[in-house]
Amino acid sequence: MPPILRVENVAKSFGGVQALRKVSLQLMPNEILGLIGPNGAGKTTFFNTVCGVFRPDEGRVFLEERDVTGWPAHRIARMGIGRTFQIVKPFRNISLERNVLVALGHDRISGWRPSMLGTGLKAHRDEVRRLLRLVGLEEFIDQTPTTLPLGHQKRMEISRALALRPKVLMLDEPFAGLSEEDIVPLAGVIKNLQREGLSILLIEHNIPHVMELCSRLAVLNFGENLCDGPPEIIRRDPRVITAYLGS
Amino acid sequence: MMKGIGTKELIVVWIAAVMVAGIGGPSSPAAAQPIKIGLMAPLTGPAAADGLSAKQSCEMLVEQVNAAGGINGRKIELIVYDDQFDSKQAVTVAQKMIEGDKVVAGVSGSYSFTTRAAAQVFQEEKIPFSVGYALHPAITEGGKYVFRVTVLGHVQGRAGGYAAGNLLKVKTVSMLIQDNDFGQSLASGFREQAEGLGVKVLSADKFKMGEKEFSPVLTKIKQLNPDLIYNTAYPIDGALILKQAADLGIKTQQMGSEGLDSTKGFLDVAGKAAEGIIITTNLDRDSKAEITRKYLDEYQKKYGFAPDMTGASTYDALLMVIDAIKKVGTDADKIVDAFRAMKGWQGVTGQIQAFTPQGEVIKNVELQVVRSNVFRHFGVVSDLKLLTP
């Protein structure tokens, strides 16, 4: 089976600082791949490069064997990569419904055409409700993100990413800043999404949960691939241990 | 529970009160029946100084006329509105004067673009409009109800050019042109006349009203070394031109326009540097005419400083209206005809020879020179060919 997302030798530097040096990665269909590594290893830069926020200096990115290198972020999003952010970026002053609706309507919001001015935003309320229900936020549909706790905002971001009907979901530290009782249900949500056929790539520092959730782990250090493999093997890899202890 | 009423509510109540006051307006009692004349001037905003001069001069005139018994027993009421140096407000104010206050005539103590905007309204409503010192050529284009008591910028510029070529006999000139209608119209007249007299224009630089730093351009002019520097600035800009020229060691003869005709704004700031500059204007401080002497003295007495051109011109604009009403009453068309028939009318700013059919005045242009920080008579340009627009 071909990988759904294939990244080959991607490099990116900012003003002389080499953030990524030839990183390669493959995400197989229907797997949860955890991307770990010490702070500053380049994980978020990697995410942003794959999602089109940055254009890579070298290397290529393939989504379902289609070369999407250097595409703008919104096109990559429409092609089927949904993502969340390390520091949450909700649309703060509009309701959860409209937050999700933005991504849900991405095929309508694609340019200037008559349907743009057509109203009918309300017609999608049921679908938005379903997406919010997936992450357990249905009851907050008319509230704005500013009124919700961080954990809810993170779940809302997942729901918003799902509204793109993505093939790949990329989560940037979904558990960071959450309490244990928030993490468990969220992990359940992620597991469920995988069962429903989604391929998931996530960055996470919470090693115990990553070990439990992911079928495979990839380790990044100083902008380079260290190794990847099943959690139990990675756990024992001496290079990984040094990388973490060394930092 | 009374705590609920705080600052915010008070503000709202206040706004509401102002609105009511504004809409209701003070309505004048019908008994006294004074003759109402409107005055628009920029009393706030960047041109407030000129607006105040105009207002003070007109108020002084109205006091004098009323003290002398008014016009045929009826007092004059001066309705003063602020146009805030904004053409939109000028239009509104013109409408308000005509419809709200039912003025028999309007006077402009304001700049060109505001006056132009208001002139249109006066013309449409068929109310005479007498313009003090606004120079824009199109002001009188509106029609027969608009008159101007000062000469056009172009004409005054020609007088300046004439003085440069024929009286001062200069060969070369550098021009500093203010980039508005005032400066441009003066400069075009000056250039036309001066070049016609064989004067060579070495440089012509534009600057914006409110400019403060003329050293760069003056440094350039210093190298060109012209016989004359002609500027079309307003008081403060003009004062800075002279001051900075003096600082740079430029000793060239300077010439300005009525834009510099201000004691407080120009002479005080320029100080010694103003010595010897010649300006074209309409107010002769050394005039023997009784009306001019009286105006200069009384203004000085009443307000504590010497008046300037804007005040004098607006004074004349109002005085002409009053004189016309004295003669023919308050009917608009009769006033207009009376204006048109005026010949040899003596005002503060000199004698008006006649009005053109367009409503432009024909009168001499006065040349003043600064000696010991005072404007003195230097000469007069009275060539009719030059002065007819």
Partner: protein, 299 residues
């Protein structure tokens, strides 16, 4: 009060209302700072004046052409906004205002410092429109502009603009082409400002570069903010209040500008959401929830 006086104020209020509503599409909906809206007001006015005077085109043809001209140049600013952001953009738009006014002022083609005169009142079926009907026509255009703004806010387009306003990175990640929509917002907002310019030029019949200088931009922004940014009623009521305010303050004569400035300070200080914005106490008072809920706004 005379009818002509009121129609004059009314027409100016309408013109300002269109300006404030159109700026609100750019700043309120799409969240892009613009302190140079008067430039597009001017472009519309000059375009219409030149088209009708130099080419002899009728008002009804010149008006949409002028709108397009303003919209096209607005789109260029939209392109600039892709690169220059936030407060940098705000100051850049001030600069654009200056540069455009300078073009009017320094080129003889645009009448230079003398401005353009002799612009005519429009005719409809060969009949010259009177002042009263001109006001009605302006009111009609305010209605159209408001309807357009309402349609935008209720549509996918409005949703996309809101998303861009709230967070560009998240909007991109949600599949929205921020670049395209910013340009669209600027183009539409500026095109309506151009229409306001058309109405202004044919109402005043005499325009000078001064009428479109930077302080006018500030006035438009102030109308939008004082009324309530991001809403539709805010800019309309803000324009009504602030355009009428100089006239209402006329009894104060010499202290007019002082109070005008003071009122802006007080309104922004105590009603930063705008007098008619979503959290405004005036609305709550009208809706009957009473001033007690004021306590939540916290002083």
């Amino acid at each position: 009060m005379g009818l002509g006086y009121l129609t004059t104020i009314g027409t100016l209020v309408c013109i300002y209302a269109i300006l404030a509503i159109s700026l609100n599409i750019i700043s309120g909906y799409a969240g892009q700072a613009s302190l140079g809206h008067a430039a597009f007001f001017g472009i519309g006015a000059y375009a219409s004046a030149l088209l009708t005077l130099k080419l002899g085109i009728g008002f009804w043809v010149a008006a949409p052409l002028a709108m397009m001209a303003a919209g096209a140049i607005g789109a260029v600013v939209g392109v600039i906004s892709l690169r220059i952001k936030g407060d940098f953009l705000a100051v850049t738009t001030i600069g654009i205002n200056f540069v455009i006014v300078t073009v009017f002022e320094y080129s003889d083609f645009f009448g230079g410092a003398y401005g353009i005169m002799g612009i005519q009142y429009p005719t409809l079926f060969g009949v010259k429109i009177s002042k009263g009907y001109y006001l009605l026509m302006c009111l009609g255009f305010v209605g159209l502009c408001a309807l357009f703004s309402l349609l935008v806010s209720k549509s996918w387009l409005g949703l996309a603009l809101e998303a861009i306003r709230e967070n560009e990175a998240a909007a991109e990640a949600s599949g929205i082409n921020c670049a395209k929509f910013k340009i669209i917002a600027f183009a539409f907002g500026c095109a309506w400002a151009g229409l306001a310019g058309v109405l202004f030029a044919h109402f005043m019949r005499f325009i000078t570069p001064n009428d479109f200088a930077f302080p006018i931009s500030i006035t438009i922004v102030a109308m939008m903010v004082v009324g309530g940014i991001g809403t539709l009623r805010g800019p309309i009521l803000g324009a009504l209040l602030m355009a009428a305010l100089p006239e209402l303050l006329r009894p104060l004569a010499n202290y007019r500008l002082l109070f005008y400035g003071g009122l802006i300070v007080l309104m922004t200080r105590f009603q930063p959401q705008g007098l008619f914005g979503d959290k405004a106490f005036i609305l709550r008072m009208l809706l009957g929830r009473g001033p007690r809920s004021m306590r939540h706004s916290g002083d």
